[in-house]
Symmetry: C2
Subunit: 131 residues, 2 copies
């Protein structure tokens, strides 16, 4: 996954003051943008070492393996970095859907509220409520 | 560009504590992710009213029309919002290239430093140094 030919230097990602970098998850095949999330260094390192997308949840303040609850894992084929080295793309194979709402992509609505995305599952079936 | 059919409600974007929202500029045709930048409310409003991508520069602390210096404008066809309403996609027609380095996309390198993108112009020719 990370071939080195000796002529290139690993890019050092610039994490922000909270230690995070925004990550765009993009479907490797359809090129749809699936989600925007954040990663800390540990999440990027785990993504590289395991080949599966890891993020850092800002609301739960914890490292997060995408799909750990739903099973909707993201297999990461490549990591791209932008010119400023402060934003990242994970090029992924997405199992089922990226969004917890059941849509394939989190970006399933236009600004006017109309729906442009495709729903892949019923979240009530996937994220079981505790009884 | 923003048809309303009466059954949908305009989404209210959640700007962060700095008044910004991350914006992914995606090529409408190739679906390449071109750049990740930030917008404040004024930038989103101007994008909607003019049809051209506007952002807010965090380094220069000012509103910024993409291409105002280089001429590499982004005509915005659609604005998508994510499930949490705190991230946005501009679906654009990109003139020439998005990146100030001359590459079509700002995400022209892999994490290992190898180049995957295509260079479209020489930045020294486009961003003239003052003499």
């Amino acid at each position: 996954m990370y071939q080195r030919d000796g002529n290139h230097t690993m890019i050092t990602i610039k994490f922000d003051e909270k230690g995070l970098v925004p990550v765009i998850a993009q479907d490797k095949t359809t090129k749809d943008v699936l989600m925007l999330a954040y990663a800390n260094k540990e999440a990027v390192d785990l993504t590289r070492s395991t080949g599966y997308a890891h993020y850092y949840s800002r609301s739960r303040n914890k490292l997060w393996k995408k799909g750990e609850e739903s099973g909707h894992l993201q297999k990461v084929h490549e990591i791209l970095v932008d010119c400023d080295e402060d934003a990242v793309i994970y090029l992924v194979d997405q199992l089922t859907a990226a969004c917890h709402t059941g849509y394939r992509s989190c970006f399933y609505r236009r600004l006017d509220g109309t729906v442009s995305g495709e729903r892949m599952f019923d979240p009530d079936e996937v994220y079981k409520k505790s009884e």
